[in-house]
């Protein structure tokens, strides 16, 4: 059982017997007023998104999901293939089920696949993933618009801003929850 104060982005809860994941979360407390927990929730089966505002007295059931450790193999068009490392069983997720996680999926990455009623429905990435920079422009010092960062493209096609000392071919750690650069990986 979760309390309202446990709510946060990424938490999976059950509403009307269906699993939902919180995709956006905002804690609000208008001056001297009561705490309000504003959530954007995605139905993990249908993909439908709903807005809900909860109060501190509300409680929540955890989503009844089974999580299995699996390895990402490859994708073919709209389908992404994963393999269970214990029994070598393979499963497929559609690209809308993978969502933004595709930005950080590299071959052989270990992830968690969520099952509901024995059906694979979603993916949870490790918080930090190491990815290779495949293209980076040299940093133009004095470019006041971009400040102390420059854009690069990663091996997955994902683009983000990094400090100027990151070069093409470097490996960097990315926080998969925010999509932001964390550090350079020392080889």
């Amino acid at each position: 059982m979760y309390n309202a104060s446990d709510l946060r982005k990424g938490l999976k809860i059950q509403i009307n017997k269906e699993p939902y994941i919180i995709i956006d979360f905002q804690f609000s407390k208008p001056g001297k007023g009561q705490a309000l927990y504003r959530c954007k929730l995605k139905n993990m089966i249908s993909g439908v998104i709903v807005d809900r505002t909860y109060r501190s007295v509300d409680t929540f059931e955890p989503a009844n999901l089974e999580e299995r450790k699996m390895q990402y193999l490859y994708n073919q068009g709209e389908e992404f293939f994963f393999m269970d490392l214990e029994n070598y069983e393979q499963i497929t997720l559609k690209s809308d089920q993978v969502g933004e996680a595709r930005n950080f999926l590299v071959d052989n990455l270990e992830v968690e696949i969520s099952f509901f009623d024995n059906r694979p429905i979603g993916i949870t990435l490790p918080n930090f993933v190491d990815l290779k920079v495949v293209s980076a422009d040299p940093w133009a010092k004095g470019d006041s618009v971009s400040g102390d960062s420059k854009p690069v493209t990663l091996e997955t096609g994902y683009k983000l801003r990094v400090p100027p000392f990151i070069e093409e071919g470097s490996k960097i750690t990315v926080d998969t929850r925010t999509g932001e650069y964390v550090t350079r990986v020392k080889e």
Partner: protein
């Protein structure tokens, strides 16, 4: 361990902290400017204890227990005791602690600036807010036109003043009266009104319904309203102020009500702050304000997340 987070420790600790340097330098400058402003305006800086036996009993503010005592949720009660004893202009900048408050705008430990003035009312504090924020902005070399999260912010006084009732009429889908009846005042405030306040000029939202002000004086002409205001800049709530309630009997009744609300919701019920109530019986007319220092730094740092303006969030400890 947070629900939903995975057990791998955070890399890049050094880079993360180093990356906060511009924000922490800005924070230090804001603190210096605040002290300069209040000292040059004849205020005495005071320090009151963090560890107290009885925090103000307010329905929606939860204190952190520390042994047999509590960490203060604001320095309000002790500062008012000083005010009653003949300290006419005082300010304090200190850490405050509130349980169950965590979000992009909330930390369970945060920094408040409070100041109190004898013989003043809430409208005079509005003027002082205008002067103070402009002083800080000039001290930072940022002038009177800034941007917060791509919203224009023009700090030049006078700022916008709008009553709560007017704000409901202008921005909400129902009237204030109706919202109170349906117990959705807070929800409508957060969802429909707050996002529209404070741009291009910061906004003072004033005259709250009497039910929404545990320590404020009621308006003499319209006793359904309390002389209280909140300050918003570009949607961000910065401060709460009021003409102080100076009637000890009335204050005790209101505290009883707030304690009853807490009891009904199954929350911790705090002891009655007896010494404060006793002091209140000889408090002259005064006004006081609590101003969020972290939020003020967020405004000048142009960041939507309070974590960015403190060295460590609770999850990073």
């Amino acid at each position: 361990m947070l629900p939903g987070s995975k057990n791998n420790s955070s890399p890049g600790e050094l880079e993360r902290l180093a990356g906060k340097k511009p924000a922490l330098q800005l924070r230090a400058k804001v603190l210096q400017a605040l002290r300069l402003f209040f000292i040059s305006h004849g205020y005495l800086e005071v320090e009151t204890p963090f560890l107290i036996p009885a925090p103000a009993p307010e329905a929606h503010i939860d204190a952190v227990r520390a042994g047999d005592a509590f960490l203060h949720t604001s320095p309000e009660l002790c500062m008012k005791r000083l005010l009653c004893a003949g300290y006419p202009k005082i300010f304090q900048i200190c850490a405050c602690f509130r349980n169950n408050e965590r979000g992009n705008l909330h930390l369970p430990q945060f920094t408040l600036l409070e100041w109190y003035r004898l013989g003043a009312n809430y409208f005079e504090l509005m003027k002082e807010c205008e002067d103070m924020v402009n002083f800080v902005s000039n001290h930072l070399g940022m002038g009177s036109k800034i941007k917060y999260q791509s919203l224009e912010l023009d700090l030049k006084a006078p700022w916008q003043r709008i009553s709560v009732q007017e704000a409901f009429a202008r921005h909400a889908s129902l009237s204030m009266k109706e919202a109170l009846k349906r117990e959705s005042f807070d929800k409508v405030m957060v969802e429909e009104i707050e996002p529209k306040l404070g741009s291009p000029k910061p906004t003072f939202l004033y005259d709250y319904p009497a039910s929404h002000a545990a320590l404020a004086r009621l308006n003499k002409k319209e006793p359904g309203f309390a002389e209280r205001f909140e300050l918003y800049a570009a949607g961000l709530e910065l401060a709460n102020a009021f003409s102080e309630l100076t009637d000890a009997e009335e204050q005790k009744k209101r505290f009883e009500k707030e304690r009853e609300k807490r009891r009904r919701e199954g929350k911790d019920v705090y002891p009655m702050p007896e010494r404060f109530l006793k002091a209140l019986s000889h408090m002259p007319e005064a006004a006081g304000i609590a101003f969020g220092v972290d939020r003020l730094v967020m405004l000048f740092a142009d960041t939507p997340c309070i974590d960015k303006v403190v060295a460590f969030s609770p999850e990073e400890l």
